[in-house]
Amino acid sequence: MTAQINVRSVFIAALLTVLALLPVYAALTGNYFLMTLFTRILILAIAATSLNLILGYGGMVSFGHAVYLGIGGYAVGILAKEGITSGFVQWPVALVVSALAALVLGALSLRTRGVYFIMITLAFAQMFYYIAIGLDRYGGDDGLTIYKRSQFGDLINISNKTQFYYLCFALLLGTIYLVWRIVNSRFGMVIQGARSNDRRMHAIGFPTFRYKLICFVIAGTLCGLAGALLANHTDFISPALMHWTRSGDLIVMVVLGGMASLFGPMIGAVALLVLEETLPILIGAVAAPFVGENATQAAEYWQIVLGPLFLMVVLFARGGINGLLAGARRG
């Protein structure tokens, strides 16, 4: 491929540059709010990128992907509570437990397809949610505060906001690179073939179940990493980590950004979370001339706008933002 300059690549390059320079802006202005927000965005972008591997490339509509955010987070939180604060223990445990959970859940739910698969992944995620609520020792419904972030010795100090931000950024880029390698490999071709026509894959000699299962496990593991990051970011874990609406948010990020596109989930994560931050302000500003004092109250109801917006994306912009940008090249 020649280096074709188009709207999409310019946009992605610009976005990456902004992300890379954000801590500099924070240091210069002393305004750390944006950096905290974007740390969260980067982490959820990792989760969304991992979901894209099974959803966008593999056609497996998992409505329970946030479960691995929860498992990764609880692995860190539970170990921290029990006095094990070394990240060299916490993080591998988070990844391994996520992988095992994905192996079991995948083995069960991949036996089915279509709408069954959607409902089953949702139901199993809900099971983990209730298990977390039942864990009285680890905060139950109220959650658990993590008093000490994962320790990595002299390697990196993730209690430092800037260092943690760049770690998340690097891990996001690493995840995207990994997904890029995987989807273009032989394995990735099998996954995409299974999305396109599973029956035919069997006919030409691929037992696709085991490939889809491994793909499911890879995605779960990567999302478990995001969970470990998120627990460290918020210094807190609670069942809300894996609430089903969080799984829904991850799907929205993938579709909003553009399914089966490498940077789509990242774009979607940025778009959704920035939208969530700015919609209330926007609504307040629009409402102010009409309702005056009550504008701040009106702004609270921003989800009335967000919900139908999802519906609009579904109906009119299936390629997501990525698709719109690709289309802009011609226009």
């Binding site: 209730y130 799907i251 579904v314």
Partner: protein, 305 residues
Amino acid sequence: MLYFIEQCLNGVQLGMLLFLLAAGLTLIFGIMDLVNLAHGSLYMLGAYFAATFAGLTDSFVLGAILALIATLVVGMAVEVIAMRRLYGRDHLDHVLGTFGLILFFNEMVRLIWGPAGMTLSLPMEMLQAVEVIPGVFYPLYRLVIIGATLLVALFLYILVMRTRIGMLIRAGASNREMVGALGINIKLLYTLVFGLGAALAGFAGLMQAPILTVQIGMGENILILAFVVIIIGGIGSIRGAFVAAVLVGLIDTIGRAFLPDLLRLFFSTNAASNAGPAISSMLIYLLMALVLVFRPEGLFPAARK
């Protein structure tokens, strides 16, 4: 023993509630091939309407009837405005679109009724307990719920299996083009079916309103339980939904009531009371996993004609 019987009745009552939701979902899925996550929102609306209308009319029965009509109307309106555009699309589109609808309905309810929940009090005569068998007293109202749902189940059975509309519904499920070719207004049929599903969810919500606090998000957890019911019962099967709903209701209720005590027999009191709630909340999902392993199509797979 007496406590056990009481818990069984509670389980059946939960099962009835789940059946009302699952039947609507499975009808809508079976006929329009549509996954509707916002089904729980209609359940929530049913409860809110009931609380509001009962307050306005000072009559529980009148409020309930008005609430049923209101959810039916809202359901049909949602079908005409939004759902209709989703037929024939990817299931992922259904999931996303209806996920958006949930956000919309939740905020709408907050806007109209405020963030605090509502309560609905029953008429005096409903508050008493009846002696179902010697020594076992059970709230009359919960028995009414069970009885009313059984009537609805019978109505659904007759509607689907014995009437002309039911024939159309079953024909629509198996052969869209044929129904169209017969000159039947399939758009109207779909709107009616969606309205029926919405009314069932609304009915569940209004029946439940006096027992629970009516609040935002009340439909979501119960919706996921209804999914479990559908997976166990088999998609598209009303009968499967009924059997699975009772099964799930019983197992969940009895598990929560007795499992912690059962565990205490084998483990230390401390460990049992720690693990008890977590394990008992897993039971129905374990049942679902077992069904998936041995009967991936559910216990009563809908016959494909």
